[in-house]
Amino acid sequence: MIVNLIDYLRDRLKTVIRYCFVVLGLVVVWDILLVDKEHAHTHIEQIWGFWSFFGFGACVVIILVSKWIGHCHWFGGKFTIMAPEDFYDK
């Protein structure tokens, strides 16, 4: 049953993606028009769709910064944090 459902959705991937974008849009519109921002902690959160920008930005920053940390040649040498699998066996 689970497999059938997943296959059904995968066969219509374009439609699924389209609906996902509609949901994203609706969430932002809901935030702008209807959500009571009385419980916001800071002024910056009053910006329309602030947490959408925050979420997207956070995701991009985490991926790029982490990969940079992982691949960067530290101490000017060959050492990288993402090391070959036999690193400790040598």
């Binding site: 689970i2 419980h39 947490w51 979420g55 985490i62 990969k67 993402m82 090391a83 070959p84 400790y88």
Partner: protein
């Protein structure tokens, strides 16, 4: 006041573990395996708050059973997880694995019910020495070395704690395990100037606690050990060590300022390493560090709401992290693989494991209607309320990272994505045995139940007034909209940068480099310089010491032969007999010696408590 009705759940687990080898195989054994943790769960559930099992030892009163709101909720979830974990491991035929797991849980419960530092320390060590067997029993090529590293780090942490306790006793004359006094005096709100404003004993005790909570830079034991443990062992380990440490911090160090920046760093550190990780179980282990970061920060903020948040998050975390380890563990159990570069596209073969893992992923990501949503936000909100905006926003950043990895990366690269499975892996892949599915089902149900029915978890929290207040806000439109926006737009970022996240066949070098390479340095030191000094001393000894010694020896030999032998012969024979008995007990296998020692300690403890 010693009540006769109190039975310590640890005692039950110790007894059960020792009886297990005598139980016949089959249905009886399976029933026994479920019944003992279930009984322990019911016991902790029914125990009324109070102080039980107080015994005097030398000059001290030792308290084995301090039951209050804080210890009760932790004991409740620990025993519940023990039930789920044991069901998950029901197919495991190896008695020793179950015994080690139960001893480990018993140690954790002992710490939670401990009313003083001596009992706490005793059970703290029981935890370390029993959990290491959950690594060794994997019996893989790396298990032995990993286990010894784990033991080494925890012994070091135990020594820090012991030193702290001894100094604390010397300074105050108290061994009671309560909020440390100089933490209370600095409770005037958070300030960066106060970070190190605590006495040495308090600092050492805190270091002992945070080593077990895996706070960087004392954290590398965690991914090292949990990635290498047995499939069922990892399910136990991910629940108990770090969360017991969170309990100890909430009890002893609530409001300690240094915990706030440490917790925030942890939350981010785990996220960064999770991006780099290729092994699914090690990725989950890094996310434990990230999630425990929230709890440590909550303990550091120390307000009633923050402590509630830390407790609630620990409760929810034990269930969803257990569920995630069960999901990835079942992939490892069925296919023998846990690396993303060896997996992919498995949804057709393991659909149920996928659904369960996804529920765990949504819970840890704090999706509305899942458990993380009602627990994590309490800590963040407490931070904002104390005007710690930097902490609040950084924890929000980390929660985007949580969804990115555990909610998206893990399910995507195991069950969808590029199929990297070898023919053999693909053929072996299938949904795991029924008992494993049941355990995952129970955990998944609880994850959703906690998220949907707020009073269940909030009713158990130590500060009821705050919990009631927050229960009104948690499903408010602002909180729901904030969370949905962060999570959904994180998903957009994930799919846009999917190529960047492609798994790479690497390992991530972490702080364990220092003691792994430090160990090699020590080995070099021992084999080269120390060995040559030793040789030199030997040579000198041969010329300067040996000749006079030989002359003396010849004299004593003559004396021995002629005078003493007649008398002593009888004694010598009996000593040789005892020696050969001892030799049979010592197999030379260090783990088994440790195991005998731990069992002996447990038996002595039981006898002592019963007396």
């Amino acid at each position: 006041m010693i009540s006769s009705t109190f039975i310590h759940p640890s005692l039950l687990l110790f007894f059960g573990a020792l009886l297990l080898p005598l139980v016949p195989r089959g249905t009886v054994r399976r029933t026994f395996l479920v019944a003992i943790p279930l009984l322990a769960f019911v016991l902790t559930w029914l125990t009324e708050p109070g102080t039980y099992a107080v015994t005097s030892f030398l000059d001290w009163n030792l308290t084995f059973g301090r039951v209050d709101a804080l210890s009760k909720v932790f004991a409740y979830i620990m025993t519940l997880m023990c039930v789920i974990g044991t069901i998950y491991g029901l197919h495991v035929d190896d008695d020793l694995q179950h015994i080690a797991a139960w001893f480990y849980v018993a140690g954790s419960l002992g710490v939670i019910y401990a009313g003083d530092y001596l009992v706490l320390f005793l059970f703290w060590e029981v935890m370390a020495f029993s959990s290491v067997f959950l690594i060794w029993f994997r019996r893989g090529p790396k298990s032995l070395a990993t286990g010894y590293r784990y033991l080494l780090v925890h012994t070091f942490g135990g020594l820090l704690l012991l030193a702290g306790i001894a100094l604390h006793y010397k300074a105050t004359g108290e061994i009671a395990f309560n909020l440390l006094s100089d933490v209370t005096s600095s409770q005037e709100g958070f300030s960066f100037g106060n970070l190190f404003n605590v006495s040495l004993p308090t600092f050492l005790i805190m270091l002992g606690f945070i080593l077990n909570a895996a706070v960087p830079p004392l954290h590398a034991w965690l991914p090292d050990a949990y990635g290498e443990a047995t499939v069922t062992g990892a399910v136990f380990m991910c629940a108990f060590t770090t969360k017991t440490a969170v309990y100890a911090l909430a009890r002893g160090c609530a409001g300690m300022d240094i915990l706030v920046p440490l917790g925030v760093c942890m939350a981010l550190y785990g996220v960064v390493y999770a991006v780099l990780e290729n092994d699914s179980r090690r990725l989950l282990a890094y996310h434990i560090i990230s999630q425990v970061g929230y709890m440590v920060a909550g303990c550091g903020i120390g307000t009633a709401m923050a402590i509630n948040g830390a407790v609630a998050h620990a409760f929810a975390h034990i269930l969803y992290k257990g569920l995630l380890f069960m999901g990835c563990g079942s992939v490892l159990y069925m296919t023998g693989q846990s690396k993303f570069t060896e997996l992919g596209g498995l949804y057709k073969k393991m659909p149920r494991a996928f659904v369960f893992t996804m529920i765990g992923g949504l819970s840890i990501s704090a999706f509305p209607l899942f458990s993380g949503f009602v627990s994590k936000s309490m800590i963040v909100a407490a931070g904002f309320e104390e005007h710690l905006y930097w902490a609040g926003f950084l924890l929000m950043l980390a929660s985007a990272g949580t969804f990115l990895h555990t909610g998206l990366k893990v399910p995507y690269f195991i069950w969808f994505g590029k199929n990297n499975c070898s023919k053999e892996t693909w053929e072996k892949a299938a949904d795991p045995p029924a008992n494993m599915q049941w355990a995952m089902g129970i955990a998944a149900f609880l994850c959703i139940f906690i998220g949907c029915y707020v009073p269940y978890l909030y009713g158990m929290l130590p500060n009821q007034e705050e919990a009631h207040h927050y229960a009104q806000l948690v499903y408010g439109s602002y909180h729901v909209s904030e969370t949905l926006q962060i999570l959904l737009f994180t998903a957009v970022g994930f799919f846009l940068l999917l190529k960047k996240l492609k798994p790479e066949p690497t390992i991530s070098v972490d702080m364990d480099w220092f003691y792994r390479m430090g160990g090699r340095g020590f080995y070099w030191l021992a084999s080269k310089p120390i060995q040559s000094v030793d040789n030199g001393v030997n040579e000198g000894y041969r010329y300067l010491g040996l000749y006079p010694l030989m002359t003396m020896a010849r004299f004593w030999s003559w004396f021995d032969w002629n005078a003493i032998d007649g008398v002593v012969d009888g004694i010598a024979r009996s000593v040789r007999g005892l020696g050969s008995l001892g030799r049979r007990l010592q197999s030379g296998w260090l783990q088994s010696s440790l195991f005998y020692a731990a069992s002996a300690v447990a038996i002595i403890l039981i006898v002592y408590v019963l007396n």
